[in-house]
Point group: C2
Chain length 199, copies 2
């Protein structure tokens, strides 16, 4: 897992002409479906959007890379080849929505690991214009929560250990390489210190 | 990924005497650390709890398998060999807590996939007595959100397609086999229906 987990980064620039078939996207959604779910509720549904015309309809609603203030998203030719829209089916919700968000983390990680195995990269986009949902016929209980952009990656993403532990903003160098500072393992570990001694 | 994703189920009964080393648990936390994070905030920290005495201190605070009302958790000998406590470091939070929950879904899925690769199973436990946190010396900005129980699985878990799409309660048969009804791929897909036609 170490290798595929490390390779599965967020990609925002793609080889747009490399199309993704509906069959491939369904395989990825099947991996999402197989993730664990709080109270086994499995509240998520997925809408596949591929094909140039449909993708072009969706693109203007998306926000990209908040820390790259000079960059307004991928240019034509580098845009995603497909999207998967993640819809919360509130009729299937068995607990609080925070549990559903947790479940969607699990599900989309399965999906993106399976994508990377197929040399497909993706970007989870929570920052979209909410009017995007109004393009589609959705039931009242279906709430658009996340857009996953997908395509063949056309950029290099490098994990690095941040020099300053607290500056975790990703950045792009003069060659267009995307750098992502990761907190060290050490800074993610907390030692056990019992407050209540053994009796 | 299909095989490991399918095998990575929730396990609640373990071979308790099969211990898990701190080094192995750190490897799993490293996989969690490498998951993507909203705004790259990486707000999660992890406390490793292993060894019989410490595990015995934690066990009484845990809730198990809400749908199995006659079962009150694993008996001695089948209890987890280790725990990883997931602590939200609020100083590292860059957005709303729902994003952190999403991130923890990603992180723990990496962790549990890596565990299963090592034949270790786990259970995410959100239903714990909040007094558990008061056993430990934690900073004010560290909030205990999730307990992951880990060990060598000592039960069989079977995925099946539920007969009734809406009854998703897992159940245990007379042989102690744990059955998990999964919604079908078909019921997780939503067709594209544009409300706003092409202009």
């Amino acid at each position: 897992m170490q290798e595929i987990v490390t390779k599965t980064r967020t990609f925002r620039r793609f080889v747009e002409k490399e199309l993704l078939s509906t069959a491939t996207l369904q395989e990825l959604i099947d991996l999402a479906r197989l993730g664990g779910s709080a109270r086994n509720g499995q509240p998520w549904q997925y809408m596949i959007v591929n094909g140039h015309d449909l993708c072009a309809r969706i693109f203007p609603y998306l926000g990209w890379a908040g820390y790259l203030s000079d960059w307004h998203g991928p240019v034509a030719g580098e845009r995603p080849s497909a999207y998967i829209l993640c819809l919360l089916n509130k009729n299937r919700l068995k607990g609080p929505e925070s549990e559903a968000q947790f479940d969607l983390g699990i599900a989309t990680q399965n999906l993106l690991l399976g994508a990377m195995e197929r040399k497909i990269g993706g970007c989870r986009i929570g920052a979209f214009n909410p009017k995007l949902a109004s393009l589609f016929k959705l039931a009242d209980h279906q709430h658009l929560s996340l857009v996953i952009a997908l395509g063949k990656p056309n950029e290099t993403v490098i994990l690095e250990q941040g020099k300053d532990e607290e500056d975790i903003r990703y950045w792009r160098d003069e060659h267009g390489v995307h750098h992502v500072p990761k907190r060290s393992l050490e800074s993610c570990l907390v030692d056990v210190e019992l407050l209540v001694p053994y009796s």
